[in-house]
């Protein structure tokens, strides 16, 4: 009984001990804030990765892909039944983009992705990432609007040509000029990764180096009988792809599937079908993706062994997601050291309090307190301090997370520069996720450390000889 009353009383009268819990408090608060923000960022990142990649991706090991993708899709449909929502065949290949900036030719390595935009849009958030120069969303299509078509001799002529609608010759000429204009300017539109088309400088508006209408040339390998050859395709920039994942935004170039197939000499004109090397699959929510993908893998291996690779989006992004997880756990270990340091603070202050309370311990023993009882007072005191520290820390951490964006604004105003530069991350609010299990673990860990730190002083207190303790001053 006295244990509880006394440690409660000590808590209320020994403010020095409360000082030692400030570090527990700060440690707990920091861990909660860091974990919530990291979880928020990780979740955002997963969101985006998942938005770009469909749930399950079937790839051929060779870039040249396969023509029989309709059979493959039928096969997939057959083994998965109604677990699949949509599928989109795509052709991906690495290449080089070049375009003129202020009269100079710039080039960069890119990943060229041929898609059927409507189909692709059904298998992920792809369509949500398509924007124009002003940042407005655009429909998933590669049609080149007339105003973006470059001026050519034909278009100049067409502009000046006085068409007499009554004259069939005029109409014929107009038709021919229009055809010529189409021939002279590339027919296909291209959607460039946002970071590919812009220059980002901290604190400034992004500068478009490839504004809409920019003519780009794409260089990539095409099918060859004996070896791969280079092939070229021109396209008009019609929009941008901005997912927020700089890895994608700085390399992806989206093209119409057929144009790419033809340019890569992977198009069977007789059958009217081209090769693809990737099939994006959207799966119904709640389906176990890993199990589904191994089922597909087995089925496709029976069709053509060692040719297809089936991966879930998480498996495909394994290294990146793994890196984030490693980062988070290392940070957690480091932060936990803060609480461990706080534990040593408790140990030091407790040892001091035991010395200070030596006579009281003797008194309690003379009144019949047992060894275990005295130990209990200090262990309970440690637990109580830990509870106060981690409780206040938890409340502080959760409040901080809740108001993190407001805090960021205030800090930005005070320091005069943005603490959280939203143009780097592409989102305007700091994302946070509070995982109850994480909070519970942190608080439990802090409590454990507080108790561990009080074991030794408590043990020492309980072992004091009553007479020596009473004579102490």
């Amino acid at each position: 009984m006295y244990k509880y009353l006394l440690c409660w009383r000590y808590l209320r009268t020994r403010y020095i001990a409360l000082a030692s819990v400030i570090s527990v408090m700060l440690g707990v608060a920091t861990m909660i804030v860091v974990n919530s923000v990291m979880a928020g960022f990780a979740e955002k990142m997963r969101d985006r990765l998942h938005g770009i990649l469909a749930d399950v991706v079937v790839e051929s090991y060779t870039l040249n892909g396969f023509y029989e993708w309709q059979e493959v899709m039928a096969r997939i449909q057959a083994v998965t039944g109604d677990e699949i929502v949509a599928m989109a065949p795509t052709m991906e290949c690495p290449g080089i983009i070049d375009f003129r900036v202020n009269g100079e030719v710039w080039n960069r390595p890119v990943q060229i992705i041929g898609i059927q935009p409507k189909e692709r849009a059904k298998t992920g958030d792809f369509a949500e990432f398509l924007i124009d120069q002003r940042g407005h969303q655009i429909p998933p299509s590669f049609d080149v609007p007339d105003e973006l078509r470059p001026t050519t001799t034909a278009s100049e002529l067409l502009k000046d040509f006085p068409v007499d609608r009554q004259n069939p010759d005029d109409l014929l000429i107009e038709q021919e000029l229009q055809q010529e204009m189409k021939d002279q300017s590339p027919d296909s539109g291209a959607i460039l990764g946002y970071a590919l088309a812009t220059i980002h400088q901290k604190g400034m508006e992004d500068i478009f180096i490839a504004p809409p209408g920019t003519q780009v040339k794409l260089l990539f390998p095409r099918f060859g009988q004996t070896k791969a050859e280079a092939s070229l395709l021109a396209a008009t920039t019609i929009g941008y792809f901005k997912s927020g994942m700089s890895e994608y935004d700085s390399t992806h170039v989206y093209m119409p599937l057929e144009a790419l197939q033809q340019a890569r000499w992977l198009y069977d004109y007789k059958r009217g079908v081209g090769a693809v090397n990737t099939i994006q699959i959207k799966v119904k929510p709640g389906v176990d993706l890993a199990a589904l993908s191994s089922r597909i893998q087995a089925a496709l291996d029976r069709m053509k062994p060692r040719f297809y690779q089936v991966q879930t989006w998480e498996q495909k992004q394994g290294p990146l997601l793994g890196a984030v997880a490693v980062e988070q756990s290392i940070l957690n270990i480091l932060l936990f050291f803060i609480i461990a340091v706080a534990g040593f603070g408790i140990l030091a202050i407790f040892s001091m309090i035991v010395v200070e309370k030596t006579r009281d311990i003797g008194i309690l023993k003379s009144l019949g307190a047992s060894t275990a009882g005295i130990r209990g007072i200090f262990l309970g005191y440690g637990l109580l301090l830990g509870a106060v520290g981690s409780g206040v820390g938890m409340a502080g951490g959760l409040l901080f997370v809740h108001y993190i964006n407001e805090i960021e604004q205030v800090l930005s105003q005070i320091t005069g520069r943005k603490v959280f530069d939203d143009s780097i991350y592409y989102f305007n609010r700091i994302p946070t996720i509070i995982e109850p299990m994480t909070v519970i673990w942190i608080v439990a860990g802090a409590l454990l450390i507080a108790v561990l730190a009080s074991i030794w002083p408590a043990q020492r207190a309980s072992r004091l000889h009553p007479v020596k303790a009473l004579r102490f001053d």
């Binding site: 009984m1 006579r359 008194i363 309690l364 009144l367 019949g368 009473l470």
Partner: protein, 244 residues
């Protein structure tokens, strides 16, 4: 209460051949060298002796705060010096009431709470809670009895020396002990308040038949006891103040 001997003999507390020495480095410092003492039921015994003669040591051994090197201590016929820790703790809590020269109250607690400490120790939380009202009332009555009815919520730091010693007496009585052990209860008090404290002890001894040992340097105080013994050369000898 089986744990506390009921005391069917007339000797309440006795020491037989108690030996105790301390070690100062390699040197043995003998303090008690075969001390014998018998304390009768309802007796108020004064122990005198030069400073360093081992009075406190003997009292601690009698009250189970310390162990003798050899010899025996009996409480109401039962040997108590070699009991297991649990039994020793229980006896300290219920059979003995200690009063010290420097009061030894717990500074964080009020006078009333200090008086309640032995009950806190005796009872578990549930049992304390269910008897809370009665235990508090008893503690209040004790404080009233020692004349501190108006100081219940004061902290020790807010009490005078005499008041602190009265609170300590109330605390020693709280567990309704068999024997009261007072180590120079008036040693730190001026003559008037010292006499007040002694009168209180004397009254308690008469009223309740409380058996008690009072260690003192003051012959005036010793004179008021039923019997006086002296510690010298590690032994207890009968002593009469008249001889001094």
């Amino acid at each position: 209460m089986a744990m506390v001997p009921d005391g069917s003999t007339d000797v309440m507390l006795s020491a037989r051949g108690v030996v105790k020495s301390y070690w100062k480095g390699r040197n043995e410092v003998p303090v008690l060298q075969g001390a014998d003492l018998d304390l009768e039921r309802g007796e108020m015994l004064a122990i005198m002796g030069a400073s360093g003669s081992g009075k406190s040591t003997l009292l601690h051994i009698l009250g189970l705060l310390d162990e003798p090197d050899s010899g025996e201590v009996h409480l109401a016929g039962e040997r108590i010096d070699a009991l297991a820790d649990r039994r020793r703790d229980a006896l300290r809590n219920r059979a003995f009431g200690f009063i010290f020269q420097f009061y030894h109250l717990l500074p964080e607690l009020s006078a009333l709470e200090n008086v309640l400490v032995p009950q806190w120790i005796r009872h578990g939380p549930i049992s304390y809670w269910s008897h809370r009202a009665r235990l508090r009332r008893e503690a209040q009555d004790l404080l009233e009895r020692v004349g501190l009815g108006h100081r219940m919520t004061h902290r020790p730091a807010e009490l005078s020396g005499g008041e602190m010693q009265r609170a300590a007496i109330a605390r020693a009585l709280a567990a309704d002990p068999i024997v009261l052990l007072a180590d120079e209860p008036t040693g730190n008090l001026d003559a008037t308040s010292g006499q007040g404290v002694l009168d209180l002890l004397r009254d308690l001894n008469r009223e309740r038949g409380l058996t008690m040992i009072v260690v003192t340097h003051d012959p005036n105080i010793a004179q008021q006891a039923d019997r006086v013994v002296r510690l010298a050369e590690g032994r207890v000898e009968e002593w009469s103040p008249a001889l001094a």
